[in-house]
Symmetry: C2
Subunit: 461 residues, 2 copies
């Protein structure tokens, strides 16, 4: 509950159409794609950095939790207002400040959709490489907060590789400016990347200077179908050892293929237990050759069939078919995004099959195999017996397996609230304590997205 | 001066052949390529992370300045032990911990030379992209401390784009582990990039996990000679607007060409006042086409001649000839590495000519024009009249010009001691104060490279 005094002051900062306090209205800002519900007591819609700063300052003065929020497409609970307080929706900061093709730069406000950036860059022959599957409806601010990836990260890297500078307001209400406008720059500490992936716990990003990449001249695709997961995993390792890095290398396991086959019996060749979808991009003159090398690396004794695919729709058909099917059969599934070194994929997939078998958890696994980033989906129903208990045991052991293979708990979703219990498996206590000290520097009263990202909740002072 | 007690304790930490205290021996660790001299009172050569930690802890307990040092090739004074104390030379931490081609990773200790990493990666078809001109004799630790760049940064980025994780010892003597072993990973704050470019002021890096890049199949080169600097600058802008990003785009101005012509009258076509050296790399099948597009973009009314060059030695001949000539005529030259947006290069080069003219400072300018990173060399002789005064005025106004053009003071050399007086032009006081707070989190007693990187010296407590 917010005090009358606080709400009055908040009302003084924003026109009435940019502040919600009615619980019914606020409920629309209570959730994200983690499917948990935590209603905020108020929702503020700033449209300028000055407004962001005045809201942060007010919350800081009153010790009110403030949870920044893009479009709520995150899967880890990063934008959930767990402790109530104010949800700071950046969705109305919608201005693309400048498009500068000569310098390959776009400057944007945080509420702009990823897709709108692509639309602004494309006429000049450029794109912005981060492409989470939510690109059409997720905001740049959210992409920055989680260092979003996507299928093309295997060749192009993730969000943190494509940002030159930021403007932000710290938890203490201070304006800061990080990085620069050029691709080179080594003056001062790299606060840009410190903010990227910090899930709104350090500062609220009010402007980002994004680095654009030239659109590839040509694209080509390959689909490959395997009798078993281990021969598919071997092919992944072999493809990733080639000098031609594919622009996407996506994997579907037997569970995923089973779901697809249930609805579309003829989409995938008979006997397929694992499938790869590979995209290659580059200069028109070399694309055929690159494709041929990759096709060659796909061949092994477990291959059923592999073929070149000329159009993107056909290439991604199986993958696009999968997501709605998954939500249909398990709306409350647990969706993880662990990463292991590519060479450890066979061992990881073996181990995962063993663990899900032991704990009797139906599962479907797919994702960005080219950089070892697998979306593990445990198809649980919280209403069924002790399924959630078994799933949590399975998850816990899976994370141990990932760490033992030199992997990481999250490749692109972030920690949010969903994974914080496991962070201690990956980050030692000394390094975590240092991170908390850094949080304190930016946000001394712990008002910004309190409790997220860290395993233990630091108390609000 | 170090106390007898401190020196005795330091001796207990290291065998006698890994500790220098004789001033004559220490003098060899008093300088770097900034050509300033600040002798340390002792030089320690740890060979393990544990030894690093015990030395840092001892210095922290006694409040003794500790300056980490690679091979001393930096040009900004970053490794100068300005306040005496202990120089921590990492040059004997020489182990390449692992080479893992399947995952495109090398794990290395900080003393390993950049060139040794290239040598270890090459047999597997990979390279590590950062290539400062000191690559043959600079250490990875130093490359990390400054986020070193080099000519290939225009296509491949700088050091910060090619590191997956670090192990380090903070100024408080704590072991931390940052990042992960995979290219994707978003668990916790990005401390990896916070340490990269922090010039040894936060922590001592004891191990780095480096991401490798596939060697290009083919390379090609182009040299282009221009009647005047403005037509050359226009060509740079045009080349950088192409979808094919060159792997290097280096520039020499009239001053540089004049020097070369003085020694080698026929190396450069008559009438050339600006020159470009452009490298293209990529798949064999597309290299000819890429080269042709770039050659085409080079053509304008100011072009005297442009030609394809097949071997690297010929391509870089003029550039390699220049450096020794520069040192010969002005051993105490001021060497800057400012960056401006590529589209602002014509205006910057114009302004620079005006400023050096006004202040009567001979100058030679060249460098990584493809990302707007120009090495401005003011050929001063500190022993001649008020030349240094005039040079400093010129420098000050040049930095103002750079900032007014949305540029940065340093693209790859770092701040060190040489540029700290100007940092306030680029970074506002609020952001600087935040950076100092971060420094305090890592290094509460300000023992690590004290006084560097920041405009004002925080006192040693």
């Amino acid at each position: 509950m917010l005090s009358v005094d606080f709400v009055t002051q908040l009302r003084n900062l924003l026109p009435s159409d940019r502040l919600l306090t009615d619980p019914v209205d606020c409920y629309a800002y209570a959730y994200d794609n983690s499917r948990k519900i935590f209603p905020p007591a108020a929702v503020a819609f700033p449209v300028t950095a000055m407004e962001v700063q005045s809201i942060v300052t007010l919350c800081n003065d009153h010790g009110i939790p403030l949870t920044p929020r893009g479009r709520g497409t995150g899967t880890s609970g990063g934008s959930l207002p767990e402790r109530g307080g104010v949800a700071l929706s950046l969705e109305r900061m919608l201005r693309i400040v400048s498009v500068d093709p000569a310098n390959r730069v776009i400057v944007t406000e945080p509420g702009v959709l990823n897709q709108s950036i692509q639309d602004a860059a494309k006429p000049h022959g450029f794109f912005w490489p981060p492409d989470p599957s939510s690109a059409a409806y997720s905001s740049i601010g959210g992409n920055l907060a989680t260092s979003a990836g996507g299928p093309h990260a295997v060749k192009y890297g993730t969000t943190r590789d494509h940002v030159l500078g930021l403007r932000a307001v710290t938890g203490a209400g201070k304006f800061i400016k990080t990085g620069c406008y050029t691709t080179k720059g080594v003056v001062g500490y790299d606060l840009t990347r410190l903010l990227i992936g910090s899930e709104g716990t350090l500062a609220v990003i009010t402007e980002a200077t994004l680095k654009l990449t030239p659109l590839p001249q040509a694209r080509s695709g390959i689909t490959a179908h395997y009798r078993d997961v281990s021969s598919c995993a071997s092919a992944i390792v072999k493809v990733m050892a080639l000098p031609e890095t594919p622009s996407a290398l996506e994997f579907l396991d037997a569970g995923a293929l089973g779901l697809i086959r249930g609805r579309f019996p003829d989409m995938v060749p008979h006997g397929t237990c694992a499938m790869l979808m590979i995209e290659v991009d580059g200069p028109s003159r070399s694309i055929t050759e690159s494709s041929a090398s990759i096709l060659d690396a796909c061949r092994n004794s477990g291959l059923i069939s592999a073929e070149e695919v000329m159009d993107a729709a056909t290439l991604w058909l199986a993958r696009k078919t999968l997501s709605p099917l998954l939500r249909d059969i398990a709306p409350k599934k647990i969706n993880e995004d662990v990463v292991v070194p590519v060479s450890a994929l066979p061992e990881f997939l073996d181990g995962l099959a063993r663990l899900t078998g032991e704990h009797r958890i139906a599962n479907v696994n797919f994702g960005h195999a080219g950089n070892g980033n697998i979306h593990v989906n445990l198809l649980v129903n919280p209403d069924v017996g002790n399924e959630m208990n078994r799933a949590e045991k399975c998850l816990n052991e899976m994370f141990d397996l990932v760490i033992s293979l030199n992997g990481t708990l999250s490749g692109e979703h972030g920690v949010g609230s969903e994974k914080r219990a496991y962070v201690g498996k990956e980050i030692d206590s000394t390094t975590l304590a240092l991170m908390k000290d850094i949080k304190r520097v930016f946000d001394p009263r712990n008002i910004l997205n309190p409790g997220k990202l860290f395993p233990a909740d630091p108390p609000i002072e």
